[in-house]
Each structure stands twice: as C-alpha cells, then as structure tokens.
C-alpha cells in the first residue's frame, strides 16, 4: 500500500509537470492577445505595440514560460491583464461558489447513488431495477438547460418558492439558493454513479468469494455490506472522481442560468478577453484539482481492493 501510494504520487508529479507545460502552450496558442482585445475601438499599431511591451507579450515564448512557471512555483499566478488585480484573487472569488455547488451536489448524489446502485444490483432485471434505471436514464438524457429552465419556470416564477438566481443573494443567509442548481446537476451524476455501483454489485454478487461466504453461513445483510460493497465500490469511486472533475470545471450552463459567479464563468470571461494569466491560472487550478481527485480515487481503490499494480 505504502509503496503503491509513493509510486502513484510520483506519477502525479510527472503528470503535473507535463500539464503545466500544456496549459502554457495551449493558452499561448489562443489567437489574438489582450492588447488587441482591449483597444478594439481606438486601435492604432503604436498603442498595441506599446501595450505588448508593457505586458511582456513581445518576449519569446520560452522565456515567458520560464518566468510564469517560476512564479507559479512560488505561488504567484500573475496579474490579470484586464483588471490588473492578482489572478489568485480572481480564483479565490470564483472558487467558493463552484466548490459549494460541487460539494452540495455530491452530498446529495453519493449516498443516494450508492443505495440505488445496491438496490438495483441486488435485484438485477427485476421490476424495481428497471423502474429506477428508466427514471435515472431519462433524467440524465434531458439537457441541463432544459431542466434548469423548467425548474425556474415552475418553482421560481410560478410558485415563487425558490430564488431563481444568485444575484444579490448570500449563500450563508439563504441555502435555498442551492436547491435549484443542485437539482439540475443531480440527474446525470446520480445516473452515472448508480450505474457503476449497480454493475459493481452485480459482478461482486456473482464472484466466487461471495458465493463461498454465503455457503459458510454469512447472513445477507452482512454479506452485502462487508463482502460485496468494498468490491462494488471500486467502479463507483472511479466514476465519482470523473464526476468531481466535471462538476468543478464544466457546469457552465448551470452557472450561466442561475448567474452563479463561479469557476466556469470566470474561465469564459478570461478566454473572451484573452486575459492569458487568468486563463492559465484557472486551468492550472482545475488541472491540479483533477490530478488530486484522481490520485485520491486511486488510493481509495487500492485500499479497497489492494491488488492493483501501477507500473510494470
């Protein structure tokens, strides 16, 4: 276990190094730069070139990378070309909303998906299994924006029970703000996750070791919790990591509809204004988050079923 963790962490470090290069190269490939975007109205070549010099955009790419990477290592993500404020501040302001949204969604989805997955898996192809499958599949098939618009129309406009946007709202004062966005994100994630737990449960139930435990007199409840679940959880944990990644980085539709000042919104703003340091900073944070989540998932899986060999 310990040597696996060390190996896996070392791999994550290598991935991180490759990622930071990729982030820089990809953002450098974006067409246009901040200097052009800022002066679309009063564009003169002199102003642009002066601006470029000022922003350091005329330096060779390698030098810019060295400069940026060095700063990143010391925790300095640079300053926004547009607002002039530190990138770290922008991240700090936007990460809160996304993190709360992600955690709230997972807090609802994970227990439910595990229970649903086990219920379906133990009744493979039974009536309940088919019913839950149909409902969750249908939910995940409806596009986010459709659900969002429907929910807002019914619960905010018609019934007036729940707030439609975060604008002016304070999360701590009114947690009701979370209900609609979480409801929108719920459908797909609960479907994907419960499918994985279901599949894991079915294959664990058929495994020889579960059959043998049953033959030695282990009662059903104990069999499910101690013998089936640890094995069934493995695909679930892997799926959970993917879900976490997606929720952190890609809930743009939800942020846009509910006017949530989150990560995706900040990222799109940055791309639109060619605010390269902001895009780089946000992408890097997302990438690191994805690495950490997947590292954690792998370690959990290795603890659950400790036979995985990472590297040959």
């Amino acid at each position: 276990m310990r040597s696996y963790a060390a190996q896996r962490a070392a791999l994550a470090l290598v991935q991180l190094a490759v990622l930071s290069v990729l982030v820089f190269v990809l953002t450098a490939l974006l067409p246009g730069d901040a200097a052009e975007m800022r002066f679309t109205e009063t564009l003169t070549p002199e102003r642009i070139s002066r601006m470029r010099t000022q922003l350091g955009l005329d330096q060779p790419a390698l030098e810019r990378f060295g400069h940026w990477f060095g700063n990143v290592l010391t925790g300095d993500l640079g300053t926004s070309l547009i607002s002039g404020g530190p990138v770290a501040d922008i991240i700090r302001h936007s990460v809160g909303a996304t993190l709360v949204l992600t955690l709230a969604t997972l807090a609802v989805v994970v227990p439910l998906a595990v229970v649903l997955g086990i219920v379906m898996g133990t009744r493979e192809n039974g009536r309940l299994d088919r019913a839950i499958t149909s409902v969750t599949l249908a939910l995940s098939a409806i596009p986010d924006f459709v659900i969002a618009v429907l929910l807002v129309a019914v619960f905010s406009l018609k019934l007036g029970w729940l707030p439609a946007t975060w604008v002016g709202g304070d999360l701590l004062a009114s947690p009701a703000l979370l209900i609609l966005p979480v409801a929108v994100l719920f459908g797909r994630t609960v479907c994907l996750l419960s499918r994985q737990v279901r599949a894991g449960t079915i294959s664990a139930l058929q495994a020889e070791y579960v059959v043998q435990a049953r033959r030695l007199g282990v009662p059903r409840r104990q069999l499910l919790l101690r013998h089936v679940l640890p094995n069934a959880a493995v695909p679930g944990v892997q799926e959970l990591a993917r879900t976490g990644d997606t929720l952190l980085g890609g809930v743009l539709v939800v942020e846009a509809i509910f006017a949530i000042p989150g990560f995706a919104t900040a990222l799109v703003d940055g791309v639109e204004t060619r605010d390269v340091p902001v895009v780089q900073g946000l992408t890097l944070v997302l990438a690191v988050a994805a690495l950490v989540i997947n590292l954690a998932a792998d370690l959990v899986c290795n603890r659950l079923v400790p036979r995985t060999e990472l590297l040959r």
Binding site: A207, E208, Y209, V210, V211, Q212, A213, R214, R215, L216, G217, V218, P219, Q222, R226, H227, P230, N231, L304, V305, P306, R307, R312
Partner: protein, 520 residues
C-alpha cells in the same frame, strides 16, 4: 451411531433434463465418504444439495437429512437449509483459492465467521493450526493476493474449519496441490476425521480416494453405478513403457534466466535457470508450489517482464509479450491452470477457441470453426457443450477448451502449466494423446506439474526446481529411479501414494508404438 448426512433418492432436474437421479449416500461422523466420477457426473450437484443449494432453474427432490434436520424434501429445499450452512455443513469449492475476497484481510473474514458461529470460543487459531497456517497477527493482516496459490487453498480450508462444521464437503481438494502437499492433505483429512468430522470427498483423484475413503459412491451421468467400500474402485492404470529420445537443435532456449516480483531484482523468484527444448521434445518441470515453476512459464510466454538473462527462439532473441509479433505469438502458446477468467463470458466457447486459428493463422471463419470443433471433440468436449457460454462448462471442460485454443494456433512451443489438475484420468489421457501427436509433428513442449509421476510420463527431460533454482535434472528414468536430491526423493515417494507401480519409470513414447488408452 447415526449418520450425520443421509441422502435418499436425491433428484435434480432442469426442465426436461435430469441432472441427478436416485442418488443415495450417507456420511458418518469420523469417516470419509467419496463421490467419484468424471466431471459432469453430478458430484457437485449432489453435494450442494446438502446446503439446499441448486443452480438457476434446477429442481431438487428426494430427501436430504443433515444432522437430524431435513434440508431437502420432495418439494425442494426447506427452510431448515439456511441454518446448516457453515455451522453444520461447510463446503470447499473446487478452486478454493479463488474463493477468497480480494478486498478483505484474511483475518477479517475468519473473525467474522467465528463471531457468527462460535462467538465465545477462539476457533480461528485452532482452524489456522489445523490448516497448517501461522496465526500471528501479521499473517492475519495480509490480503489473499499476498499468498501463494497453495497457501490460499489452506486459507479457504481455515475458513471452513472456523465454522467448526460437523460435515466437511471437499470438491476436488487435491486440484493444484503439489504431491508433497497432497500427502499432507491426506494426513490432515485423516486427522480431521479422527476428530469426529464427517467428510464428503468429491474427487477424480483415485489415489486420494483410496487413501482416505471408507465408503465410495461411483457416479456416472447423474446416477449411482456402484457403491460400497474402496474395493469398488478399479485397479490403478498402468503407464506406458519407456521410449527413445531424438536429436536436434534446441528450438527454445533460456539462458541464466532470473526473475523477480518487484523492480530491480527485489523479491527474486528465479535464479539463473537454463533450459533448452528441441522440436518434438518435451521438457518437464517439477517442483512444489511456490518454487517458481509458473514464473518460469510466464517468462517464456512473455507475461512476466521482470527478468534478466536471455530467451531465444530459433536463436533469435524473444521479447516480452506486448512486443511480440503476430507470428511470435503464434509460435509460442501458453496454457495455464485457472483458465476461467481467460474466456469471454458472453460468447460460446467454440467460437473463442476458433478465434486463435483466425487471428494467428489467417484461417477463414468456417475452417477455423470446423477445426475447433474437431479438436475439442478429440479432447472429449462435445460440440453441443462447446457451443455454450463458458459459465455452463465445468472446470475440466474449460481447461481442455483452453488447450484446444492454444493448439489451434499450431504453436512451435506449447507451454502447459498444470493443465491436468482439473481433469479426471480419462480427460488426462485424451490430453496426453493429443500432446503426443503434437510432439510427433515437431512441437516442443514445456510441461509443468507437481506430480512427478505424470511429468516423468510425458517428458523426455525433467528439471526439478526448488526455490527458483534447478536442483536436479536428467532423463525421467534416472530422476525417478536414482533421485539425488532430498526433495526429488520426496516427490518420487509422493508420486506413489495410492498404488502406482513403484518402479519402471513411465515415459511417453511416440504415438506409433503405444498410445495411452483412456483409463477406467
């Protein structure tokens, strides 16, 4: 004294077909009852009825009484069946080593069973001692994958014993055991029986049955064809007389092959093994479980990548499997011991067997299918059986299908790693016959086994391996009659439990003079 198990006119039917009919037997405390028969004869179906267990769509009838409780009556299993599981009847499956939960430390399951069945006593330590395993906390904290195959079987045994049952059902317990461990198994089971445990032994290992059973029931196609004392078993089959050896340049060579389990040579498992096989020859490799036999096979097959030394095929260096060409894949084929996982559960077995001929020899679909069916039939697996998905085949049938799958590649080197452990004598004879023919066609064989008797019968040259080193080698006749090393002497002795002829070491000859006939 009353029997602890009474089975009277047991029947099992699946729709129209009759799996088991009119089977009667008893198990007495302190005695061993053996159910003997070919694979598919209904041994396991009959034994699982003691737990009230049956396959999907199977109906049980007759009467099964366990420890005074009726667990099966003419309407099928009764509600009493749940209560006998573990506590009264403990069942050990055919490959008990794979019936251990990979996600749980072995101590966790043992303690759980203790709490369930005997919460006030310390049965775990006792069970581990009876299964010849250490009971220190460090061992209990390990996961199943950290034990060798033989040790895993003993762990499964310890689990069964932790329930402290009155009846122990053992389904082919000698499968995959090296012959020394098999001797230990005999005395271990004798010890358990002496302690008052009733044992139901399901086996095709006639030597084992002879050594243990006081009652024998012979099953064929679901019916009892004979029952009584051990005398109902026929006399042991004779093996073929000695043959000649041929000359030729080595086809496969391994030079100072060393392998380890972890990177940079940590946990070494093979030390400087040399090996050479000529076309049409068979090299036999024997040793106890954990001696490195399988690792050697996996190195040659390209599956074990942590090795140093050289592997040559036709004097050309042989890379690891993922770097081998299609042709190299065809030329070297590997058949291993537990093959169930290597079959796709969703497709019929015959198609999967035919696939090698399509992929590696470029045969057309129809030709490959015909060849697959023919080869399987030669090995005693009928076309109807082979047309089913793998879950419907017995362990022995799948084992032969795996061999057929390898043979269809027309390999130049065929590695057989304990491929007869799941087979009865008849199945073994069919396998040996096919391999003899391959040898005559010039295929080089690497035959790995723990049973020196059989290895010597098949091979032209025998290597004895212990702790990753070749400790003795030579022609089988010499190794059998003049073993130099102490371990070899023990293997020779172990090969003769039961009543195999003690001298005249058997050597397989070319099929022109003698064929080993199906036995019994």
């Amino acid at each position: 004294m009353n029997p602890v198990v009474q089975v009277i006119r047991l029947a099992a039917t699946a729709g129209e077909s009759i799996l088991v009919d009119n089977v009667c037997f008893d198990v007495w405390p302190g005695q061993v009852t053996a159910l003997v028969g070919a694979s598919g004869s209904g041994k396991t179906t009959s034994a699982l009825a003691l737990l009230g267990e049956h396959g999907n769509g199977v109906r049980l009838g007759g009467t099964v009484e366990v420890d005074g409780q009726v667990v099966v009556d003419r309407n099928g299993p009764t509600s009493a069946a749940a209560g006998v599981k573990g506590r009264v009847v403990a069942y050990m499956p055919q490959h008990p080593g794979s019936a251990l939960n990979p996600a749980r430390r072995i101590g966790a399951t043992l303690r759980e069973l203790e709490r369930l069945h005997h919460p006030t006593e310390n049965v775990v330590v006792e069970a581990l001692r009876a299964a010849q395993l250490p009971s220190d906390p460090k061992t209990l904290k390990r996961f199943p994958h950290q034990f060798s195959g033989g040790q895993r079987q003993r762990i499964a045994m310890a689990q069964a014993l932790t329930c402290r049952p009155k009846v122990l059902v053992l389904d082919e317990p000698s499968t995959g055991l090296d012959s020394i461990t098999r001797l230990q198994l005999v005395s271990e089971l004798e010890g358990l029986a002496d302690g008052g445990l009733g044992i139901l032994l399901l086996s095709h290992d006639l030597d084992l049955v002879r050594a243990l059973a006081s009652q024998v029931v012979v099953l064929s196609a679901g019916q009892v064809i004979d029952s009584g004392g051990p005398e109902v078993l026929a006399v042991a089959p004779e093996l073929a007389p000695a043959g000649t050896t041929a000359a030729g340049k080595p086809l496969l060579k391994a030079m100072s092959l060393s392998a380890s389990l972890r990177p940079r040579g940590r946990d070494p498992i093979l030390h400087g093994v040399d090996l050479a096989v000529r076309p049409g020859h068979c090299i036999g490799i024997v040793g106890r479980s954990g001696s490195g036999k399988t690792t050697l096979a996996r190195c040659v097959a390209g599956l074990h990548e942590r090795y140093t030394g050289r592997l040559l095929l036709d004097d050309q260096s042989l890379p690891v499997l993922r770097k081998r060409s299609l042709e190299q894949n065809r030329r070297i084929q590997y058949v291993w011991q537990e093959v169930r996982g290597s079959f796709d559960e969703r497709r019929p077995v015959d198609q999967q067997v035919a696939r090698t001929a399509q992929r590696l020899r470029g045969l057309r679909h129809t030709e490959a299918d015909a060849e697959a069916v023919a080869t399987l039939a030669r090995l005693g697996v009928s076309a109807i059986t082979a047309g089913r998905p793998p879950s419907r085949l017995s362990g022995g049938e799948l084992q032969r299908a795996a061999l057929a799958r390898a043979v269809l590649a027309h390999p130049d080197v065929l590695i057989c790693d304990e491929i007869t452990t799941a087979l009865d004598d008849h199945g073994t004879a069919l396998v040996v016959e096919l391999l003899t023919e391959l040898k005559d066609r010039g295929t080089a064989l690497v035959w790995i086994g723990h049973d020196l008797g059989l290895v010597a019968a098949v091979s032209d040259h025998v290597l004895v391996i212990e702790a990753g080193r070749v400790i003795e080698q030579g022609p089988p006749a010499t190794v059998m009659t003049e073993p130099k090393h102490d371990l070899t002497r023990r293997l020779v002795r172990a090969a003769r439990i039961g009543h195999r002829p003690p001298d005249s070491p058997p050597v397989l000859t070319s099929s022109n003079d003698t064929r080993s006939e199906p036995r019994r």
